[in-house]
Symmetry: C2
Subunit: 327 residues, 2 copies
């Protein structure tokens, strides 16, 4: 099953807001519906957002009046400000607009196929690195969701985790729940269960302590944007895990497609961090947690400085930041 | 209003599991009901648990057959393994058993009055230290609930926060929600709102990043047990905040009654950390989050090494660990 695909002239996605309760396929036939799906995280994860952006450009080129297509593609490209893949892939497909809608779609399908191949390669390279650093029975901690649901198939960091399991070299996984939207509890737990990988769930605040207690051999997670200096932008909570890994002396490994590396972003200081407002924090689903009118600070991402990153694994290379290499 | 008190021959507590939705007073007339209230966190927080233990000894001395009283007091003392105040205060009141039930109650009432006085003093000392370290307009981050609800009145770390506000020297508070049981979102938010203190709620994983971004001037929180070497046992997530504070170069201040210091516990390595099982993590209230049969690792507390602690403020002294002092 593919998380996102182009089917009979429209985009089809698994609605991730309904997992793990319901597996529902959404058919998106307009740019507005796609942007809504992106904004409410029905589709999420850097690689999947890249494909969504490219398919969105194809959709815009077929459904909008020609003069409005470039603006529609830009609206898609900027639907989530921190996601560099979304913007880059929407624009890459849009760059073929002069050749007509079929050329835009062909480019988008190529991006999809590239993501599928990239995921296989990241899984192999990530597993190799964990075995190299931690031996043949590692327990890894992962954050947020970086599996097939974040990509088209396979995923990034979770592809490496599943590959470790396939090779018989995985002792276990600790999945950190990833407040506020609980992608770890809802999505990663669902995927690991489906793949038969042994795992335990933990609250985000427990990660560094479990590392200090010796229960984690490596942290492995994804990225939404990697800066030119090696700073890693990823789901809020990643930086705390990186501090924990450093203090415990265990590797902190980032797995992300080459396209996540943005040479135009010199460092994390240059990145706009989206604040998603109070609703996600003060309520849990439809149930209010905090008293009425409670304010919140809700950064969706954080920045892990390059100095805390052991290595960045992409579909093309393994960049050993701990050995002084840089993207 | 007092969080816990002795009223007409029984213990009355605010049931904290129902806040912020409902303010309900529970009347506990038996040792079994008290232990149940302790286990399900209807009463919680180190000072309040101390008073609960002492009142529990008084209750046992009045309701159990004489031969069964010592065992009943021990059951209360060990109802939560990490809470040193609970055990110490239950045993301190129980030590007067030979003088009769009224002597046990007198000792318990004395413990209650000592906690009220201690809270005032901790609030003053904690506020003095924050102003000394951060100037007259600090934004502080706090974790879990350390306010009146954790004590009889006032509290520990939150008493200092409210005192800073009373003096006009507080720019704001970031309350970290404190998964899995959300004491920050439910209880601290409720208390700060009631006291008119400006605050924002954040997910636990955001704390260290907000510190790195310069949005926090000090971390101030409580403790369930302070070891002889200065290691601090506190709610899960505290250690991650301590790592964040160290990396950001801001003070990490622990406020707790002198009775929290346990000279018989040499270091954090000697502390049994309660694992509260999967239910709190895999579900949110009554709503399941993770797929069925998901396992969890759920340590209720963590250990912050003394090297990450700037100071411990008690009702008697301010111990500057950053200057080499030890409890």
């Amino acid at each position: 099953m593919r998380t996102i695909d182009w089917v009979d002239g429209a985009i089809e996605i698994i609605d991730q807001t309904l997992l793990p309760d319901k597996l529902t396929i959404l058919r998106l036939t307009s740019v507005d519906r796609l942007i809504d799906a992106i904004e409410r995280l029905a589709v999420r994860g850097a690689p999947a957002l890249g494909v969504a952006g490219a398919f969105g450009a194809a959709l815009a080129s077929r459904t909008a009046v020609p003069a409005a297509v470039p603006a529609a593609i830009e609206r898609i490209a900027t639907a989530r400000p921190t996601a560099v893949n979304l913007a880059r892939c929407a624009r890459r497909a849009g760059d073929r607009l002069a050749e007509g809608p079929e050329a835009v779609l062909a480019e988008a399908l190529l991006i999809r196929d590239e993501e599928i191949a990239a995921s296989l390669e990241m899984g192999r390279r990530g597993a190799d690195l964990v075995i190299d650093r931690c031996g043949p029975a590692a327990t890894v901690l992962t954050h947020c969701n970086t599996g097939a649901l974040a990509a088209v198939t396979g995923g990034t960091a979770l592809a490496a985790v599943v590959e470790l399991h396939r090779r018989g070299t995985l002792a276990g996984v600790i999945a950190s729940e990833t407040r506020p939207l609980l992608q770890g509890a809802r999505l990663t737990a669902w995927e690991l269960g489906a793949a038969g990988v042994p795992f335990r769930l933990a609250v985000d605040g427990a990660g560094p302590f479990l590392m200090a207690r010796g229960e984690v051999d490596a942290v492995i997670l994804g990225s939404d944007r990697i800066c030119a200096n090696g700073d890693v932008v990823n789901k809020i909570g990643s930086y705390a895990h990186a501090l924990g890994a450093k203090a415990a002396g265990i590797p902190f490994i980032v797995v992300a497609p080459e396209s996540t590396i943005d040479p135009d972003t010199p460092s994390g200081a240059a990145v706009t961090i989206e604040d998603r407002g109070p609703e996600e924090v003060v309520a849990f689903g439809t149930r209010a947690v905090a008293p009425p009118a409670t304010r919140a600070v809700n950064p969706a991402f954080d920045v892990t400085p390059a100095a805390l990153v052991t290595a960045i694994v992409t579909d093309r290379r393994t960049i050993r930041l701990d050995l002084g290499e840089r993207p």
